[in-house]
């Protein structure tokens, strides 16, 4: 399975955000996306997901153009930067509607066992983030878009999450954007850099310096 995003032009009012963008990702690979704050990384992920409508875009799956918003196909899951779990729901309901096993979740994250019948509001920001990452990683979709999955997460948990991401890679297309660049570099097979409205494929950490992302 191959996802391609082509010919993207996104403007907010008079401000041009992305222009002449080409981006691709395939099954069994993790694609890392870097860029300075405000460069358009999140917009890129939201365009793929379908929650942002640019002036122009072409999405292809296996070379076949997809006309409707990608989330309506049920093929894609998106982890936004912000918390997306509705706070009025209990965790067991949330796992049930996503068809994800609570038992398997607490085998990996034992400390969460006490929260099964609790609403999401009782979790701390970091705990909520772990639940959200797990839901997206183990959802039944084929394409995962992860925007800042490592933010607010303790180092030990980041290690676990990195392993879970790598575990899912064989079955899915995974696109990950985060400023924890060491973690992204460690798990990514290919890298992109969003800079000056364009998206560049890059090879290594040295090119992050060339693009002004690192000193």
């Amino acid at each position: 399975m191959k996802l391609e995003l082509d010919n993207v032009e996104l403007n907010y009012g008079d401000k041009s955000i992305l222009k002449s963008v080409y981006f691709s990702a395939e099954k069994n690979e993790i694609v890392g996306v870097f860029g300075r704050n405000g460069s358009g990384k999140t917009s890129l992920l939201e365009i793929i997901f379908g929650s942002v409508s640019p002036k122009y875009k072409l999405i292809r799956i296996n070379k076949k153009p997809i006309q409707k918003k990608l989330y309506k196909t049920g093929w894609v899951s998106y982890l936004p930067q912000y918390h997306f779990i509705p706070t009025h729901l209990r965790l067991k309901t949330i796992f049930s509607v996503y068809h994800i096993s609570w038992k398997k979740f607490i085998q990996t994250f034992e400390d969460f066992a006490i929260y099964e019948n609790e609403k999401a509001t009782v979790l701390s920001g970091g705990e909520l983030r772990i639940v959200e990452i797990y839901l997206v990683l183990f959802s039944k979709t084929k394409i995962l878009l992860l925007d800042e999955p490592f933010s607010n997460i303790a180092p030990l948990q980041i290690e676990k999450i990195r392993e879970l991401i790598k575990e899912q890679k064989s079955q899915k297309i995974i696109v990950i954007s985060d400023h924890f660049y060491h973690d992204v570099l460690a798990i990514s097979d290919r890298l992109y850099m969003v800079n000056e409205k364009r998206v560049f494929e890059i090879e290594n950490q040295k090119e992050l310096k060339n693009h002004g992302y690192l000193l």
């Binding site: 989330y71 309506k72 196909t73 049920g74 912000y82 997306f84 009025h88 729901l89 509607v97 996503y98």
Partner: protein, 95 residues
Amino acid sequence: MQKFKLSLVFYTQFLWVSLFANFFFYFIGIPIIVSLSAKIAFLGFFIFWRKIKDEKSPYVFYQNLGLSLRYLFLSVVVFDAVLLKICYAVFNFLL
């Protein structure tokens, strides 16, 4: 079935407010069709307002499962119309 269940999960956040509104509309003597129209207008405004008020979309949870905003709105309207009809019938019977 999955979509129906999800719509119901989405609707639960409106349930208590909706019940209270039904009770209120009934006791001030508003006809059912006017109550329904007012509630649909309010729901449409509320869902749209939540969508535009900031950059954090409250609907990603449902979009990840393939549901569009339009589908969520229409399902809420249907559930709410059914609840309104039941409430008016029960109030008529009891009072």
